[in-house]
Point group: C2
Chain length 153, copies 2
DNA sequence: GCAAATAGTACAATTTTAGTCCTCTTTACC
DNA sequence: GGTAAAGAGGACTAAAATTGTACTATTTGC
């Protein structure tokens, strides 16, 4: 299915919640009840995002977390990279020399191109976009055509 | 890392090998030695691709496999879909109603948009492209060369 | 009929991922 | 200063997905 991990998914849910009030400092517990995710999970995600400087943390009593930048300046690509490491669809497109068939396989360069294209697509969507209604935003030219509204959340 | 499964990777290696001589019928054993992948693995991949009509199979003695279309008409997106099912980065972008937070999470429509964008990027790269030297082809949305409109699922 | 080849299914082992818990450090406030 | 709230960091367990393989059945050419 070409999927991101659940933890990455959670990271986006949590940061999208924070984007609703970008200046405010949220405790992990608050974000947990707002997103309906388990407290330990939310805490784990926030720690990871802090290490990548996508959110700022404040320790001590009345501490918590806040987005490090405005929602418009945080992309889905950045969030995915923070949680999973470099975007690459195959091992060989990220690390050289780990694949046993690398010597006889000419595909590595192509995978790198594909990964860059996917990365570019993911860089088009910001956290601000994620907080807006679905229909307004278009990502790639062709997609303007079939812009259907499939859901009502 | 946002990756495809190894089996999907193998599928592309195997079909890329077949693309070198699109008319020829290859046995699974031949493709195994050509790609340096284990015979059972190659067999498994070919069976899956056959079910999705990306390769044709010929049973019986002197049987084997052949690409069902020309390499230019088979995209990486199609191969990924054949191996992994619909491209969707989260469960909710493929199946409705399985995510427990769906009721309170407004992200589903956005994930569908993102998935379509990724699908579009993956539809730009064909098996023919994969057999060519790396440097010539660029794929990043801004530099897009050809607009082939493959349908989104 | 026999040999070569694919079809289909099932399975065991490995690897990843998820989720939780525990201890330590920092800070606000009385 | 003491205490409680909150994050930091790491370790660990359980569960799930992925892999790779094996086995049996079926088809076809000679």
């Amino acid at each position: 299915m070409l999927r991101i991990s659940k933890l990455t998914d959670y990271a986006i849910v949590v940061t999208a919640a924070m984007a609703g009030d970008p200046k405010r400092i949220f405790s992990a517990a608050e974000l947990s009840s707002e997103t309906h995710l388990e407290p330990p999970t939310v805490a784990k995600v926030l720690k990871m995002l802090t290490r990548s400087d996508l959110v700022q943390s404040f320790r001590g009593a009345s501490g918590g977390y806040r987005l490090a930048r405005t929602p418009a300046d945080i992309t889905v690509a950045q969030l995915i990279v923070a949680m999973e490491g470099p975007i690459g669809m195959t091992q060989c497109s990220v690390h050289q020399g780990l694949c046993s068939t690398e010597a006889v396989c000419a595909l590595r360069g192509h995978w790198q191109q594909i990964s860059r294209a996917v990365h570019a697509a993911l860089s088009e969507m910001t956290l601000l976009d994620m907080t807006r209604p679905t229909i307004t935003h278009t990502l790639v030219p062709e997609l303007k055509l079939h812009n259907q509204t499939t859901e009502s959340p």
